[in-house]
């Protein structure tokens, strides 16, 4: 469509803006409503995570990993712990593995709930956001019941867990799952198939497969573009290969494959898969087994390096740990999934209208704590 070109205006969707999911500045060159170029500026939330890790011992790094992606800190712990156990060749017993899978999947549901709620909020639907938060509170109560904290847990330690799950935990989780399943359908009915939301998100911000891979996008954003890649299946760690669950990918029901709607809908389907995994994990969890069994007294990994990846709600989280044999890490690099998701923003969001740019940003589900580290 022939655009009438007025002169360009530079607009700062500034570090302090309701729709930037944290402290991010999008410098946008717009001509009227049509956005021609986006340059994200980050670093407002940079807390020198990697420099800190070079001054604290391996046990003390765990509270720092919590604070990178504060919306799914259980998965951040899980990633670090898997990397460390692979470096130090520690094998944890069955009960710990099952508890870790249950906790990671509960955290995935909580994170996806918040993401779908906020995506609706970015498009103007206020109520589903509050319903999503209400359900998320139930999960946070379960975490609080186990490790005391609601958001930043420091729960998974290298070689085990900080606490075993309390007595009433399994029943409470089953109760939560039965309560939660009709709620997903309710969220889907009010948001996913709503014509206005479909109109606002179908065929918008389409991310084709090769761009996604070349930009290193992972997680639900990649699966929405039709690539069936999930670390829990393709490069399975912990005991994920024992559970049978399928990986939802975007089929372009309401538009083309890989558009905003697909990224949103894939997360809703993934929540259902996580509920399936939790049910199987809780069923097959061994009753006995001490969670402190293989906790090393003093963590001194042998000299060498490891790069291990786990599937967080936002994508592949990689920890590259280089140790020189001392109890303090020599170098720790965290490969953050939201970092790559934000890098694709300029590619897929240029040329759309201002409100679409924010819808695309919402569908990518980025968390600034993890990007800035």
């Amino acid at each position: 469509m022939g655009l009438v070109h007025g002169e360009e205006m530079v607009l700062n969707i500034g570090p302090q803006h309701p729709a930037t999911h944290g402290v991010l500045r999008l410098q946008v060159r717009t001509d009227g409503e049509v956005v021609s170029q986006i340059t994200p500026y980050m670093g407002y939330l940079h807390r020198c995570f990697e420099k800190h890790c070079e001054n604290v011992t391996y046990e003390q790094v765990i509270p720092y990993t919590d604070r990178c992606d504060y919306l799914s800190s259980m998965s951040m712990n899980f990633g670090y712990v898997v990397a460390m156990e692979r470096l130090m060749d520690i094998k944890v017993n069955e009960r710990v593995e099952h508890i870790r899978v249950v906790m990671a999947e509960l955290q995935r549901i909580a994170s996806h709930l918040l993401c779908t709620g906020v995506f609706g909020l970015d498009l103007g639907a206020f109520t589903p956001f509050l319903w999503a938060l209400r359900d998320r509170e139930r999960i946070l109560d379960l975490f609080e019941f186990t490790c005391g904290a609601r958001l930043l847990y420091n729960y998974m330690w290298v070689g085990g867990l900080s606490h075993d799950i309390p007595v009433g935990f399994v029943e409470s989780t089953f109760e939560f799952l039965d309560y939660f399943e009709p709620k997903i359908d309710e969220l889907e009915n009010i948001l996913a198939h709503n014509k206005i939301l479909v109109e606002r998100s179908a065929d918008i911000g389409v991310m084709p497969k090769d761009i996604a891979i070349s930009y290193g996008v992972t997680g639900p954003n990649l699966r929405a573009s039709g690539v069936k890649w999930d670390l829990r299946k393709n490069d399975s760690y912990s005991i994920y290969d024992r559970f049978e669950f399928d990986i939802p990918i975007g089929e372009g029901k309401k538009g083309t494959v890989g558009d905003c709607w697909d990224r949103f809908y894939v997360r809703i389907l993934e929540m259902r898969e996580s509920v399936k995994i939790i049910r199987q994990a809780l069923a097959s969890m061994p009753k006995d087994g001490d969670v402190h069994q293989s906790l090393p007294k003093k963590i001194r990994p042998p000299k060498g390096s490891v790069y291990a990846r786990t599937e967080t709600p936002r994508g592949d989280l990689g920890y590259y740990i280089e140790s020189d044999g001392s109890p303090i890490p020599y170098r720790l690099k965290m490969r953050s999934p939201a970092f790559t998701a934000l890098s694709v923003m300029d590619e897929i969001a240029a040329g759309w209208l201002l409100s679409d740019v924010l819808a695309i940003l919402g569908s990518l589900d980025i968390v600034l704590g993890e990007i800035d580290r």
Binding site: T127, A149, N154, Y179, N194, K195
Partner: protein, 194 residues
């Protein structure tokens, strides 16, 4: 032309469907209340249908509290803290396990281990504490703990501890005057020997 009408039909049907869901919430609001009237209903929230009561918590994350009579000054919590927000200074006690009257120092701890050091300064900077609970595990006497939850016998839950002035958030758990008392004591000993 057909798309014109199907669009209208899907628009009206989905919006009406959504509105029916919201109106259900309006009428069943009493049962689904998720919020808490803060000044009256405080945390810990009354047992909701998730069914766990306050005492059976595994661990709690709230304000740190140190029970000075049991602290033997082993500095393990100071080393375990990832953000270095604990600072302890100790001085040698003249005899191991003896009470020292004028600095109110009790020689024997509750699980009767004898104290070799007198803790003259025990500061925790609550503005820096990241509530990770790593300091409570290594403590041999379990004298540093987070208030409430399983420890509510020792100290009731206290999560409303905001202060107008930030320097009030540096908690000084050492008994006041122990530092000067110990210095005076040391001077007296020196004078006696000299």
């Amino acid at each position: 032309m057909v798309k014109f009408f199907t669009d209208i039909y899907t628009a009206t049907s989905t919006i009406l469907g959504g509105m029916i869901i919201t109106i259900n919430h309006l009428f069943t609001a009493k049962r689904g209340i998720a919020t808490l009237q803060y000044p009256e209903e405080r945390w810990p929230r009354p047992e909701r249908d998730i069914g766990f009561d306050h005492g059976s918590y595994n661990v709690i994350r709230s304000r740190l509290h140190v029970d000075m009579d049991d602290c033997i000054g082993c500095l393990k919590c100071e080393r375990a803290c990832p953000v270095n927000c604990i600072k302890i200074e100790t001085s040698k006690a003249p005899e191991r396990g003896e009470d020292i009257k004028d600095v109110k120092h009790i020689g024997i701890t509750s699980n009767d281990s004898r104290k070799a050091m007198v803790v003259t300064r025990f500061d925790i900077d609550m503005t820096e504490c990241c509530y990770c609970n790593l300091c409570t595990y290594p403590c041999p006497e379990e004298c540093i703990f987070m208030t409430g939850g399983p420890n509510s016998k020792k100290h009731p839950i206290d999560y409303e501890f905001s202060e107008p002035d930030r320097s009030d958030l540096i908690y000084r758990f050492a008994k006041p005057g122990t530092k000067e008392g110990m210095e005076k004591l040391l001077n007296d000993d020196n004078k006696v020997e000299a």
